[in-house]
Symmetry: D4
């Protein structure tokens, strides 16, 4: 049965309950979400990698309680909290990276962060990045999303002194090897302050960023 | 010549100036350190991956200005600042991981963090980790260092809600593939809040942790 | 023709006859099963990786002789024997690992073991694993199934002194590389007593576990 | 300090205390061994991957208490127990695999197994293996060690119904890739009952085999 | 246009003209086959990796001239020559390997060899292989096809003194990595006289075997 | 013997004769150089990867004819021609990349190019690169050398419309995998006009650059 | 929004504006193309990796302005300029490489080069390549496209002194590993003057070739 | 002990007895050689990968019986037989490949073949290969040895109709990955009739070639 669902993680860590929908039926996802929601109705329950069928089943089960983002492929059962943390800015290189970047932004928001996004600032047109420098410097944490060569975090890391979480994406072909090229670039970044998450793991980046900025708002 | 040394990074990012000594002669390292120190004598200059010969040359050139850590293979020309940021706790699985863990701790300290270390809490004896839980929860950022299976950050990530920087080490043999096994484990961690740096990159983890806790002290 | 089907393996090794259905037509699978069943009607014939069409063909051919497990994608032609060996406990980290875990459990049962299952005890909520410790210690052999970071066997191996067969699954994405990350984690486990089988190979783990506990029941 | 040495693992798991000497100084190894020996003088303390200097230091510190095997690169501080478990037979393909095979045999013996060895039965001369079949069938657990093509466990697995732990070695060159070829062969073995440990991990195989045969002797 | 089709290879090398149909339209394949057939109507034109549509188009264009093997996915436009070379024996481990084994057999036949096949002699039941030893020793060249662990050529190589071409197949899952495991096993075979071709390359093995036995018949 | 030395390549391709000294004795290198020099005394003979012993032997044999660059580990027997081609500018990220960058520069010079170098313009301090933009735009071909994350060519490619040859270096550690990370980054560069050579292959980059700028001088 | 489209790259680099259609909807592609076309109607806008739906949408939006190449999967909005640069010759080994070769040719043409193509000159019939030698030598830049073994650029590089851009394709199976084999061959080419782009990256090769031959026409 | 040395392989397979000296002491090698020589004094005993110390010990033990080739790193105890088989021609690309090529030639000779060598015919100067065509066509089996790009067998395979055994060598650097690049090239060769052995495995190629030409001499 579902006897061992971990209903106390939020108490231990402050993070929301999360269901990874890939490989689960809509019924399974809805049932687990119901159990988590009943245990702590005051916390949003986050569902990631939700296909259309998952999202439809959740909307049917929870109605107006659902906040649904089709680009991020995410649903929050229960509204995100009002931003109680600092500012997370999610930066990405191109439009193909938007699903992952949006997943990061949605997650950080549900985790309590104040989130904004900057798109289309790839290193192949470096002046666009320089033009965004003040926005980047004003964040408490940056999530930098890029596929193909994955070079964007290296350029950002030398511009500002903010913590940077780099997210490689599987955008590309051939020797991109499904995001491996971007992952290796980011792990070897010469720029300071860059840490990395799994390929396409916008969720993990958003949650880690929210942990970093938790309790930051009042500082600014 | 040395005409393009980046003497203004500290101003842009708040990080110290750093010299990566691997592949440089002691003379080169000392000369670059002198230039950086002259430009901003009030900031420490950090030297990483310093062999004995590098450290000897630096001590000869800068005398009492040097703070030297042979386990971390690091030298700071100029003392670390008084801790102005929050608390970074560096955790490692076993004694073989100490060089990397100490590199992280030394770097974070020179970057202004208040640092402590917890050693020998590998998952194969999970009660040791549980016994350290309060120490872990009290930190503003955790650096978790592990080789071989790299499983430690997964266990830590579910215990506390603190940001976690995981550092895989090259400790192990065979299918450890020089740290690749631990790296992949950490990138795939099921636990929330974990981000990852390059294999053996204690320096990068320490600097990123210091960025995260900058300005945190006053909050606590 | 099918002239070289190995109808004597059961006599040499005590294991059941097995047909790997992937890449075979339902007709081929049914024909081989018939030949093996005729040779030794007292032994169950096991069919692994059986799609719906394979299972339908087998039920049509053998009727009530079939024991069918759709989650494990397995059919036994002929009922499993009454447990004559010791206890195999199959542990898994999450619900996505259930197909592989169930394949292991079904196989071990057909091979004569007394089998039970423990689900949803991933390391990201370590207290769930600790709560199951007595159940784990009571087994004669543990099969531990996990995807993504594959960290579960490392935590189990330090808790109890029972033989552990670790099964990496292909659950995950990005740098999980189809189960490679979990495989490497398990091969590098710091915990004692862990051996490993191929990615998603619940069948192999179940059979090996049954060999281990054969003749154990009377000891307990 | 050494404050977190896990002195209770033997109580939890029944395995001996073990020190992995690689990357530790002789002084560190001797000091840890002393602490473990003092905590439980009745249990042997096992030291693996011990170079000459480690072994000399241990003999100087513990004198006649040491049992030293230079081929296995192992020392036991305190004698192995009298065999209380079943029979472990360690099989290897060629003389180049002897260090790893001997490490497995020595470990299993210190863990309480009754151990014997069969050498030079590679598949390229299959009659040698067939000639040893009765010896193999008489064991309670087989440890099968092979480098290069790693084909030996596949041949053994179809001959006898005994649990088999396969150990790939780094013997070979070129596309052996340091033992990777043998590792993959073993993970993909078509023969039933084969589980696998890390490349060159005789220690892990010996300990797992000893867990398997624990309490077996009385059965035979 | 098709101006550079190499119509003289048969003259230089004695091998038939071959068209690799994968990625070509049925029309392209038929047109190229027509050109090659017109240039040398006395030589068969071989088409490999031919899908149903390719085969239908060829039969429509060339009618009774076509010899079609759906398991091998091959068509010969023009009948194979009467065997003018020695004997090629194609051996395979299991029924899943039959498409590749049959591709090798069909190719060798079209290249002039006298071909027979031995199936289902995997190393997990080594007595089946020993029973076929005289057949193997009677060949002038062996093609040995195996997936998963790829161990069969190692066992064959020590039994007989015949040249052996090993063909790894992509049969398997997980750490079989699409045939990589079997490929590495074969490249590292401890047995003498084994050479290897690409994964699933029955065509290449059959052609190389035919070159080896060319002119052998009269010797026997 | 040395009967097949290719003494006519210069006539076919216009490139100098080159000897790869790695794995050759000083005597072998000197003898081959003598033969090539005698065949075409008017062309320089280039020796790459020359250790101290190779260079000493060449200087002893050819005296003042040798132009020797110890950083590039190269010797030219016979002076470089006067620049008859366009301008090649060799750019590198850091001082650790200088051996490879210098190899490229030396080679291009011996091949007839007009060469200059720009050092220490890594992306982590992007203003240094922007400051060099006019120098970069003035070249007929750029060789861009970088290790670790290999991000520099991506930034350069969007700044100027000049052909760019990217050279990954083996500078770095851990997941740099001996230059693989930088190589993949460069192959996946989002910036236009970037082509790539082998890791550490300054020679190949310099020669290709010289081919590109051959006959360019008169255009400017 | 689309606020950061880089409408000035053509001014900085002279290359056309390019849209990578993979992963974009036809509407997105058409909208971006419209914006780029409006900004600089005198420059063609290039769309790569355009599926049928993308091409249909572009033709509907831009009508006769579109130049469409279904083999190259490319559309140019606005006609290619009259050739103002030198000659680019695109060479490929077989018909399976034509999509990539045609992508290179189309791109180079839109970038202003004078382009021709040579097909079906693989090294397995080396006389075909030798017959084309004068055509090859007459080019200002060669783009050499090959899959499987990727050996063609090595043969070309020793024949002529022209810059060579090698393009590995994903044509092949098994140990071709999706183009990796050809990529590694080309990176290790013993022939001089060869640089390499990503697997299947005809676009990148064509653009780099056009940069190389820009301003060459008047020289000939 | 040495109880299982396989002294009957020669009778089963016709190949000589072989000792792989790597990882054995000179004493071990000499003792095994003595046993094999005593068992069949009429057959030569071959020792491969013999360092200077191995060779000195063998010469001391067997005196004039030894035939020693320092380039091949081989010793034959007992003279090679008079050529009773056909002609094996060993071809290599460059002088760096000579140790591997010579190992193949020496082995084939001891196995009874009539052997000659062709050196320095790399594809970068294809006319040298064409000039040797008649020599190549006259052989009964070709062994083609090449490092770096490994392109030579592809060129040879289309020139002549002789069986070809390709041997990749570890000559090269960077993305040669210790011979992996050449290995993959050869496995993917577009030319017919090419089979492949392990990286640097001149021994295996020589033995397989000798098996192929056995009994050929009388045919010519
Ligand atoms: N141990 C290290 N690992 C990774 N990056 C480092 C390390 N030490 C210094 N760095 C980075 O390398 C740069 C200095 O490189 P360099 O100019 O070659 O001395 C600094 O900006 C640091 O960000
Ligand atoms: N799921 C599985 N994974 C790995 N090996 C298997 C599996 N199922 C069956 N086998 C093995 O494959 C053999 C049967 O293969 P086949 O003769 O092709 O049906 C049996 O002897 C089993 O040992
Ligand atoms: N087929 C292609 N392969 C690699 N890069 C491309 C390709 N087509 C376009 N690009 C690059 O991708 C950029 C456009 O990406 P986007 O803004 O996502 O349309 C352009 O600047 C090109 O340099
Ligand atoms: N250089 C070599 N490379 C690969 N296999 C070899 C080599 N030399 C000898 N062998 C094989 O290794 C076996 C001898 O191994 P060993 O008994 O360890 O001396 C022989 O049967 C040979 O087939
Ligand atoms: Mg864009
Ligand atoms: Mg410890
Ligand atoms: Mg769960
Ligand atoms: Mg042996
Ligand atoms: Mg079978
Ligand atoms: Mg620098
Ligand atoms: Mg063709
Ligand atoms: Mg040469």
């Amino acid at each position: 049965g579902y006897a061992r669902v971990d209903t106390h993680r939020a108490l231990r860590t402050g993070d929301p309950e999360v269901i990874y929908a890939a490989g689960k039926t809509p019924e399974q996802v809805t049932a687990i979400a119901a159990r988590l929601h009943e245990a702590h109705p005051e916390h949003p329950v986050l569902v990631s990698r939700a296909e259309d069928a998952h999202r439809a089943a959740l909307r049917e089960a929870f109605g107006g309680l659902c906040v649904d983002d089709p680009i991020a492929r995410m649903v929050s059962v229960g509204p995100p909290p009002r931003p109680q943390g600092g500012r997370v800015t999610v930066v990405c290189a191109g439009t193909s990276d938007l699903p992952v970047a949006t997943e990061a932004a949605f997650t950080a928001r549900v985790c309590g962060a104040d989130v904004n996004q900057v798109t289309d600032v790839g290193v192949a047109g470096i002046h666009r990045l320089l033009a965004a420098r003040d926005t980047l410097a004003a964040a408490d944490c940056l999530v930098v999303v890029a596929g193909m060569d994955g070079a964007l975090p290296s350029a950002v890391g030398g511009l500002v002194g903010v913590p940077i979480i780099a997210v490689p994406t599987s955008v590309g072909y051939g020797a991109a090897f499904g995001g491996l090229a971007a992952l290796l670039t980011m792990l070897n970044s010469c720029a300071p302050g860059v840490t990395v998450v799994n390929i396409d793991n916008g969720f993990g980046a958003g949650l880690a960023a929210a942990r970093i900025v938790r309790g930051r708002k009042e500082n600014r």
